[in-house]
């Protein structure tokens, strides 16, 4: 758990992005198109104006990361 948090912390620093659920959103890449929202099987993602939010329902399936047109989503593995 501690290790995971440390790794999260560094990823956060590295990408200057939010850590949400099991997926990292790189805000520098995201163009808020909503494609990820459409494919999320547990409806954990929401597009709010110009950013996306991922809630705790995320089950780390990784489909959103594969679909993203610009690679703004990254699975935490």
């Amino acid at each position: 758990m501690v290790q995971l948090n440390i790794s999260l912390f560094f990823k956060k620093l590295k990408y200057r992005c939010d850590v949400l659920g099991g997926v990292i959103v790189n805000k520098n890449k995201c163009l808020y198109c909503g494609a990820c929202v459409a494919v999320c099987p547990v409806s954990a993602i929401e597009l709010i104006d110009t950013w996306i939010e991922i809630n705790e329902d995320c089950n780390d399936c990784g489909i959103c990361a594969k679909i993203c047109p610009v690679g703004a989503l990254e699975e935490l593995k």
Binding site: C33, A35, V37, A38, D49, K66
Partner: protein, 388 residues
């Protein structure tokens, strides 16, 4: 803003605005909400549209027409060119969606609909198994708005359907993930839309060049969500480096296009329209006309339901019956064709293209092209025989 409306429409794209306009014209108390601060932006669209379909809804206006297109050129992976031109329903416009979408919203407002921007639906109000309105958020304030009927026009990222218990989740193979550059200072033929097919260029999709005037074009591509070895933006950079190395990009657009057939589109007190209902065409990816058609039908059905005091699913199923009658067969055929074409390799595409080199098309549509292909390549396109 009132506490109660006859109909609330979530999303001010072409589907939502046409629904709002139609509802207001039928004397319904209508509210159109849009989560963005600005209607029409970002566009998330290649902006091509058929003239015939468009004219059913709005008089063409040069303020939102970027190019008048006379035909299409399709290039196979090996570079064989198929040209389709002159008269036919596929001939169309390349729009300026930012202005077009705004114009449709203005027409809805002029017809009497209320419009609220920067207003996001955050949940549906449910009572006794009926959808009775939306919970919305506007610049930090949240509030409930009641309605007899809610129309979900909230696009590819639709939540309204899911909140109402309709599963609109797309499988990776049923979404095209797309990237587009609006490029300027490039040489384009302003009268032709170009399509490039090939698994190296855009696996499970195609690349497009849609002119927006003499020196400008939407240059983009979509790939199947089941074939994302690279991200669309990477394929696009590669395509553009080769095709327009000197071009300048003045806008980047990305997005997902549903390439499936609609699931359920109605429930008690609710209808889904346009991309939210997954009505974009699986073969071409085009969605504007289907969006506007479904928006209009939904509003007409809402009008009957509201006036009869019966917004039950049985009553709203008239909407489903009518859109299936109008666009159902096309959606089904396009989906079948997409499923089959996804399997073709580049050599097969080249042999298909070679088989129709230099012929005259009777019907200048995607289906017209498919028919010719299927007639000349019965073995390879055996699965398409039912579409003839």
């Amino acid at each position: 803003m009132k506490d109660h409306y006859d109909v609330i429409i979530v999303g001010a794209g072409p589907a939502g605005s046409i629904a709002a306009k139609t509802a207001a014209e039928h004397d319904l108390e209508t509210l159109l909400i849009e989560k963005r601060a600005e209607i029409g932006n970002p566009v998330r669209c290649a902006e091509g549209v058929g003239k015939e379909g468009l004219k059913q809804f709005i008089k063409p206006d040069k303020r939102w027409i970027a190019a008048d297109v006379k035909g299409a050129r399709i290039y196979s992976p090996g570079g064989i060119k198929i040209e389709m031109s002159e008269f036919g329903p596929e001939v169309g416009y390349v729009l300026e969606r930012k202005i077009f979408d705004r114009e449709l919203a203005k027409q809805a407002a002029k017809a009497g609909a209320e419009v609220m921007v920067r207003t996001r639906a955050i949940a549906l109000i449910k009572e006794d198994g009926f959808i009775r309105g939306v919970k919305a958020e506007n610049i930090g304030d949240s509030f409930d708005i009641q309605a007899d009927v809610v129309i979900g026009a909230d696009g590819v990222e639709s939540k309204v359907g899911r909140w109402a218990g309709i599963n609109t989740t797309l499988k990776p193979k049923d979404i095209e993930t797309c990237a587009q550059f609006l490029m300027t200072d490039i040489d384009v033929d302003s009268e032709y839309c170009e399509f490039y097919i090939g698994n190296q260029i855009a696996p499970g999709g195609y690349a497009w060049v849609f002119p927006k005037g003499k020196k400008e074009a939407n240059v983009g591509l979509g790939i199947s969500g089941s074939r994302t070895k690279l991200h669309p933006i990477d394929y696009l950079k590669r395509f553009v480096e080769r095709k327009y190395p000197e071009g300048k990009t003045i806008e980047i657009i990305v997005g997902g296009v549903p390439v499936t057939v609609p699931n359920k589109t109605t429930t008690n007190g609710l209808m889904l329209v346009g991309d939210a209902a997954r009505m974009s065409d699986s073969l071409t990816g085009g969605g504007i006309i289907h969006a506007m058609k479904s928006g209009k039908i939904a509003a007409e059905v809402a009008s009957i339901a509201v006036k009869a005091g019966d917004p039950s699913v049985e009553s709203l199923n008239e909407y489903e019956r009518r859109w299936i009658l109008e666009i159902g067969p096309t959606l089904q055929k396009s989906y079948k064709a997409k499923e089959l074409l996804l399997k073709l390799n580049d050599a097969e595409w080249d042999s298909l293209a070679a088989s129709i080199r230099g012929i005259n098309f009777e019907e200048l549509t995607a289906f017209g092209l498919l028919k010719e292909l299927a007639l000349r390549n019965p073995k390879l396109l055996w699965g398409l025989r039912s579409l003839l």
